[in-house]
Amino acid sequence: MSARNLVIVLALAGLVALLALVPSVANGYQLSLAINIMNYTVLATAWTLFSGPTRYVSLATVAFFGIGAYTVAVLGEVLAWPLVLLIAFVIGFMLSLLVGLSTLRLSGVYFVIFTFGLAELVRQLVTWYEVNVTRTLGRYVFVDITTEQIYWQLLALAVAVFISGWLIQRSKLGLALRVIGDDEAVARHVGINTTMAKVVLFAFSASFMTLAGAVMAPRWTYIDPAIAFNPVVSFQVLIMALLGGVHRLYGPVFGVIPLALLFEFLLAKFPNHFSIMVGIAFLLIVYAIPRGIVGLIEGAQLSLHRLKGAKA
């Protein structure tokens, strides 16, 4: 490992350690805000893991997130916590494999619509089941997890997402996905099993989302399908990832932080016009910064570099 890499690794480890100390200094409101940011960091980065290189825009984020939350609602009081998380992970992985195998032959707008439909379908199925079988729409989540523990679990999950993302990027799978994103026909003709590559990564990404939902579930003492499968979550994740920039693994973080704060502000000040405001924010971002904040910074660096080169 070169000296520069060592410095980067140490700096990142220091950052994680600092972030782990947040609950000891933050008050209740700040901690809840930090949890919100951490949750969206996991979701948006997991989203980018798959959608960034392949450019397959998925609106199924909340389907997996909600399934994680429901796993906790159903099993949280029955089983030990690590086991509940493990089961949520397995369910998310299996379901995403199934979804992936049946849908990743679709591309472009068809895939977008399908994923959106999937999230709604799961919500309707859960609603139907609760109404007709359990005969109560809502569920209470009583598990012995403190707010601080939720934060730490999300932090650990975020670290896991980043490490897996980094490993994938350096692997052949990472290159395969970039080739697919550029030109799927070329990908097939250089020997890439495109379906397999997409399904595997989709499942990875979705499993992280499911885990985030499971970890977040104790935040609500009461959940029903409208809360757990709220489609706004999928859109917010998408917009955060786009604002940050999806061509870098760390990109989405730059979108998550400002937007999580903005949404918090809008919810507090304009609770009745929240959706309109989010819509406007979405339009502005797509029009004004199509390559995201990271893209802007890199663009500026490049022009600066060229300017220096021209002078020299």
């Binding site: 290159l175 030109d183 003709h189 250089v190 099993n193």
Partner: protein, 243 residues
């Protein structure tokens, strides 16, 4: 005469009512450069698409060293040892030249990765004359350089059979001369090539044998000199003398 590397028989593909490829048979022997000619719309590119698995055939057989290819998906055919370039050049736009070549090295039958792939990619870029452009984004390349890069990516797969689809089309005279030289140098390496081409100079100077197609059928085969003198071939290209 050595056993054929590629042997195709009865190959058929329909698009709706149109029979784009109609019972075509052809053979390519190891080390040969074989041309596939014919007027526009005669089904040449469709034949390449069928061999490489971009399209599925409606009938007939395609064998590479006796292994059946016609039922395999494109990525498996690539791993069996068939590489191709595209009629409309296709480079990977978000990557550098070197990364484009590594894409060809990493997933083929003799997969290479890491330092080894990096070295091999550099050698291939030298081979096609792009050594100085290794870290340039492909979007900044000229047309001929994009074609060179596409060739390097195909060669990276160390294919047993290389399919070139009008690789020389759209080049100016100087570029064309360089392009022909490049393909000739591939023959010297012992590569086996099946090329769809319109540029007659290239066909005469490069091809050992040619097949000529018209309206989905094979109408002639033989040396370039013979087929280009064949009355039916002339009729296919130019129409009847008294028309």
């Amino acid at each position: 005469m050595s056993a054929p590397l590629l042997s195709i028989s009865g190959l058929t593909r329909r698009f709706g009512g149109l029979v784009a490829v109609d019972g075509v048979a052809l053979e390519v022997r190891p080390g040969e450069i074989v041309g596939l000619l014919g007027p526009n719309g005669s089904g040449k590119t469709t034949v390449l698409n069928l061999i490489s698995g971009a399209l599925k055939s409606d009938g007939g057989s395609i064998q590479l060293r006796g292994r059946a290819l016609e039922k395999l998906p494109a990525y498996r055919i690539a791993r069996e040892g068939v590489a191709r370039t595209f009629q409309l050049v296709r480079v990977l736009g978000s990557m550098t030249c070197k990364e484009n070549v590594i894409a060809g090295l990493a997933f083929g039958p003799k997969s290479r990765w890491g330092e080894e792939a990096s070295l091999a990619a550099h050698q291939l870029l030298v081979r096609v004359g792009l050594a100085s452009r290794a870290n340039v984004m492909t979007s900044e390349l000229t047309y001929i350089d994009q074609k060179r890069l596409e060739l390097a990516r195909a060669l990276a797969m160390q294919p047993e059979l290389l399919l070139l689809d009008e690789w020389l089309a759209g080049l100016n005279p100087t570029e064309l001369r360089d392009g022909i030289e490049l393909i000739r140098s591939l023959r010297a390496e012992g590569r086996t090539i099946l090329m769809v081409e319109h540029v007659m100079d290239a066909i005469r100077s490069l091809c050992d044998r040619c097949y000529v197609m018209n309206a989905g059928r094979k109408i002639a085969e033989g040396t370039p000199k013979d087929v280009l003198a064949d009355p039916e071939v002339i009729r296919a290209y130019l129409g009847d003398a008294d028309a």
